[in-house]
């Protein structure tokens, strides 16, 4: 997935072996799902040398969840948004949730490239300002849950509206909080792809989820479920 993962642990009793298991799991996920490795199941599905029915249970689970989220987001979250099969947008959050479950620590934060799984807080979480890379535009205090941000301020992060193939207009960043990182990340991606229509869509997110959208030139729209301090 080409993504740095950092574990923050505030628990002297946490066994290093748990963290080793969590990172070993993430490497296994990369081997199964990487679009850069020709031997991964995802690459073989795309190449037509592996049928979905013959893929492993983890890959089938992820593809099923991608399909459910595609329906739930009106097609704005799409594992084929750029043509080729690429479920990375769901895999990252899904894999980090499972990695966190492998770590027996009272207080844990897993950070996968700015998308977070939090346990045993309080954790003070800053949301990166979409234009000023070393500033924050919001601060959250969370005991547990997930935080995901979609934006295009970094190279390599290109979100297109799957319906038009073009980058959305008028949106700078979308951050979603909620109980599950895979869903929060998919919702943030979908809302970003909707552009200026995203904030109204986030108002209908399921219970437990909240969203903050930054629109051009600097309008911040947040849902009732969003709790910044």
């Amino acid at each position: 997935m080409g993504m740095p993962v950092t574990a923050h642990v505030r628990d002297p009793g946490c066994a290093g072996a748990d963290l080793d298991a969590a990172f070993a799991w993430l490497r296994d996920v990369d081997a199964l799902f990487s679009t850069y490795r020709p031997e991964s199941e995802i690459s073989r599905l795309e190449a037509g040398t592996l049928a979905v029915a013959d893929a492993g249970p983890l890959v089938r689970e992820v593809l099923d969840r991608c399909e459910a989220l595609r329906h739930q987001t009106g097609g704005y979250f799409d594992a084929r948004a750029r043509g080729a099969l690429d479920p990375s947008g769901l895999v990252k959050g899904w894999a980090l949730e499972r990695a966190a479950a492998l770590v027996d620590a009272g207080s844990l934060c897993l950070d996968g490239g700015g998308d977070l799984v939090l346990r045993g807080g309080p954790w003070r979480v800053g949301v990166r300002h979409p234009r000023e890379r070393d500033r924050l535009c919001a601060v959250l205090e969370l005991d547990e849950g997930a935080v995901a941000t979609s934006a295009t301020y970094e190279r390599g992060e290109h979100i297109a509206d799957p319906h038009t193939g073009r980058p959305p207009r008028g949106v700078l960043s979308v951050t979603v909080t909620g109980p599950d990182l895979a869903r929060a990340d998919a919702y943030a991606t979908a809302a970003f792809a909707m552009g200026e229509a995203g904030p109204a869509w986030t108002a209908g997110l399921p219970p437990g989820y909240g969203a903050m959208t930054v629109l051009e030139p600097g309008r911040v729209l947040s849902t009732p479920g969003w709790r910044s301090i």
Partner: protein, 61 residues
């Protein structure tokens, strides 16, 4: 209820959803935080990013 992507149904739902959104102006602040959420996506960028700076500062403590 989730809104579908487009069409008249969505517009009707959006018209109801809009008033419950809170609007504020974009601020640029700094605060003592444990971690930062953002769309950093490669290790090169990460090393140079705010989270990278926080992690470096922690290691130095």
């Amino acid at each position: 209820m989730l809104l579908s992507g487009d069409g008249p149904h969505t517009e009707a739902l959006n018209a109801r959803a809009e008033p419950i959104l809170r609007e504020s102006a974009l601020e640029a602040g700094s605060a003592d935080v444990d971690v930062v959420s953002g769309a950093t996506s490669t290790s090169e960028i990460w090393l140079d990013s705010l989270q990278g700076a926080i992690d470096k500062a922690r290691r130095g403590r």
